[in-house]
Symmetry: C2
């Protein structure tokens, strides 16, 4: 049985605006200053266990060249282009449809492109266990993460028992704080990493059963995959798909869903706050570029600058300062949930130019 | 009698760093957003009464091309280049020496290049009166400004009486606050504008008497003026000159010093604070670019951005935010006197690159 890794890289996230832009979203950035983009890290992480020719990246077509630039090991045929984003279910249906034609006995890993994992060895061991499990079972597997705090921005997975690989009892999307606290305390709940492992046949069966509309749309164009007609067919199908997540559309409904929980230093790096948490801080708890950032009487700030730019900052406490070539943002860290609002106002006044 | 206007434009001021730079100091900037640089405003102001061919600009040689760019009406021969800055006395000695050879009966106005004057008509009337006065008298004239506040950063001129043109009783450089308050209250003291009017013969006589060393250095190279030898000669002479201001070297010592005081909306625009005062403010008292500057919960700030850059700023009160292509500065308005300190630290770490 061959194993393939599907990297979902179609996001146009705005939470890191102005550093992330429509033209260069988060997965192509190195927000943590590691020297590599998120998508590059994702590729290298799975390259420990998957051969380069067995990767498939699904992305928006406007990012096709960017993907090839960040992952020069891939050939253009390994990039599947979505004309528009329709959440994860259509994305996975497209990848599964492609794979089903190419290698119907394959196992398939599905992963976001913009998360970090610190303990890659532990992580790859867990993925290996999941692959072993789905090889012998008709199982839709997901990877759970031991929660370290009552995060209200994540989905939670409840396990049925404490075995290494457990049947999933329930999914809960973004609980309130009180519920999240209960979840963390009781020990039965884990964060949903958005990483899935299954045989391509099994997920195809699940689509047929739980998302028959999407299933029939993609089955209907299967003969176009790998031909000149593919882009036109995909364009038509995506325009007819409703946006729906794989969690909501399949995982929450299916009765063969299993989870392997682990603790491997995962973060979705979803906010400037999480970047701050993950970054090295100076002795005044500022996360900032290693050079060229002169801070006076400033604490608990996160500063991001273009290469070769310097900053002199005085008297800021708990601030986010993000400077890019054409946008400067200065706002309190407590205010990061309003970035969306700022973007809307800028867009309203200036159009898409700075978005 | 012909009248010449000498514009002193050699300053390398750092108070507007990072907007002012060694490569483009304040006189070449449009810090107030008027559409014209300070030196351009200065030239146009005196052009009301002086023909273009009667201007002489004294500047550092590195700014020669910048001067010609800002004042295309001038010919290269009208730019005198200092190899190094030696304060105003050597600068004026050089200009006076040049003029003495060309037109020994001339009257001469000396002006800084980086001040603003709002009521140019009133101002030119005053300059006219001064020119009339020096035509008939061996007088070294300066222009005083009615003080509007007990400014401790300026020099003060004490008048002998309340006539329109009064003999100067005393000069006081940068008094303490208490003294400045007394000065403003008593009505005998005026700000020193740094603008001078005299006949070229009279200032030459004053140099001979009060600064004989400088006088003899420049007299000694007078035959080189206007020849190929000029630059070499000037280089040698400037390297031998001590830096000294015309106020300290001549005006405070001479007994034929007169002042014409007036009120014509003068500012030396010496600090971000004065830029703030002079700028149009929005309803939250922020001085900021007309477009592309999104301020939330921010008051009494001054924001300067490169063209076409936008900024989103939240929660700053009484701040200076100056963004340029390669330097970002964010500091409280009360902190502007420390800009010099920041520059020193940046210089120490990064060299001259960002200065």
């Amino acid at each position: 049985m061959n194993t393939y890794c599907i990297i979902m890289a179609g996001g146009v996230g705005t939470r890191f605006w102005p550093k992330s832009r429509q033209s260069r979203p988060k997965q192509f950035l190195d927000i943590l200053g590691t020297g590599k983009s998120f998508i590059r890290h994702t590729f290298e992480r799975f390259s420990r266990i998957i051969a380069a020719e067995n990767f498939i990246v699904v992305t928006n077509r406007r990012y096709r060249e960017l993907v090839l630039e960040h992952l020069p090991e891939l050939t253009p045929e390994q990039i599947l282009c979505e004309p528009v984003g329709r959440n994860t279910a259509p994305c996975i249906a497209y990848a599964a449809g492609t794979l089903l034609r190419r290698d119907p006995d394959a196992a398939m890993i599905v992963t976001p492109s913009d998360h970090i994992i610190l303990d890659e060895e532990e992580f790859c061991g867990i993925i290996g266990e999941c692959l072993d499990f789905v090889a012998g079972n008709n199982a839709l597997m997901t990877v759970g993460i031991k929660p370290s705090r009552p995060e209200t921005g994540y989905g939670y997975i409840q396990v049925s028992d404490q075995s290494r690989i457990s049947k999933v009892k329930s999914f809960t999307e973004k609980p309130g704080l009180e519920l999240a606290q209960t979840f963390v305390q009781c020990g039965e709940f884990f964060w949903n990493s958005g990483i899935f492992i299954w045989k391509v046949r099994d997920i195809a069966d699940a689509f047929a059963k739980y998302l028959p509309e999407i299933h029939s749309l993609f089955s209907g164009i299967a003969s176009a995959f790998g031909t000149e007609r593919e882009q036109d067919a995909v364009e038509r199908v995506f325009s007819e798909c409703h946006p729906i997540s794989i969690d909501y559309g399949v995982m929450e409904k299916a009765d063969n869903v299993y989870v392997r929980c682990g603790d491997f230093g995962w973060s979705d790096v979803g906010t400037w706050g999480s970047v701050y948490t993950l970054s090295r801080k100076d002795r005044y708890a500022n996360a900032r570029p290693a050079s060229g950032c002169y801070l006076y009487d400033s604490r608990n700030c996160i500063v991001s600058l273009p290469d070769d730019k310097i900053a002199v900052i005085k008297g800021l406490k708990d601030y986010i300062v993000v400077d890019t070539d054409d946008v400067l943002m200065i706002c309190p860290r407590s205010d990061e949930q309003n970035i969306r609002k700022y973007i809307d106002e800028v867009k309203y006044n200036d159009g898409e130019q700075h978005i």
